[in-house]
Symmetry: C2
Subunit: 227 residues, 2 copies
Amino acid sequence: MAEAATLHHFAFDPASRAARLALGEIKLAVQEQAVRPWDPESPIHALNPSGLPPVLETRHQGRALTLRGLSAILGFADDASAGALLPGDAGERAEARRLVDWFARPFTDDVDAVLLHERMEKPLLRMGPPDARNLREGREALRRHLALFEALAGERDWLAGRRLSQADLVAAAHLSVLDYFGEAPWPAYPALKGWYAKIKCRPCFRGLLGDRFPGVAPSAVYADLDF
Amino acid sequence: MAEAATLHHFAFDPASRAARLALGEIKLAVQEQAVRPWDPESPIHALNPSGLPPVLETRHQGRALTLRGLSAILGFADDASAGALLPGDAGERAEARRLVDWFARPFTDDVDAVLLHERMEKPLLRMGPPDARNLREGREALRRHLALFEALAGERDWLAGRRLSQADLVAAAHLSVLDYFGEAPWPAYPALKGWYAKIKCRPCFRGLLGDRFPGVAPSAVYADLDF
């Protein structure tokens, strides 16, 4: 097991949030170090060739170990916890892996790259007000994705099956950022809302609910466990 | 272990190729079923909500099991082979996972989405001749990425360290498609060329070297083990 750890993260980056949730779930104590990946002077560029958080610096079996990117951190969290974040059942494992990929690819492209660009990156990089058409398209894409997750949440205890998995942490990470900016239309997706209420109560979520984005207050329900 | 398996794949899709290599490495006999994901009538759309190959249908412990997408298939291949495709060392595991992600994200966006779009998708979808500027930009991006892999291949036996891993299979899958179309400038990257020669000789590679793209002959070196 690890001895001491620093997580380099950006509080509103979904991958960084998923790493914090995973490390919280396996109860690995980490010191959180905020990075600003858009700043060319940020130390993240020396830590990761991709220039992106999350990066975990830890010690493992007496040696320094640097884990670059979410897959490496999720895999390490699983390895270090005897598979706490992947179900034992082969079908549920496959679902967990499929859903983690789903967020990395179509969800990030269809939703985050549009809605979070308008709501988060533009104020951060002083790029002017959000574009109404992009907001509309991003919200429509989000609703298409939420309809898929609503079906899963209606059939299963957790998104990949009977056990909490990486898929739940990654999904909650992405949706929690959208929720901060008031972009998560929970009432229309009751089963998914029930799933989110369940994961939001877990101790690993506490840090995220205390995050504040400069100049933007969180939505009314963001930190409310009984929303 | 699995009892009978069908892999739904497209021969020139890098993720499908990586799945074939992984299943070949762990010696899982699969029947290959070609799909055309761009065809709305393709059975792939019913098999995978993403509409994309690869999908593996197999049996596991007496039950039907459908593995959707490369992560699910790579994970299954590891699980079914006692970790044959991930090194035991924690640092090498992290590197393997980092590099698999690297191909999924910046490499696919910077190189495949540009060069393979021009060389492969346009003829396939009858979209007209390649665009010279895109070809130039895609080739420049490829060279930036190859310089990173050349450094790794110069320092390590395999891309993630001392053992062959998922990272080598995924990297070889992407580069082999580019190589078919004559887009892999091997002579400028001697260490990487040595790595590719080593992986190309493995039995798992044989099927790929026999693939033919309609109307485009493979590059002179494509199937040459001593290129």
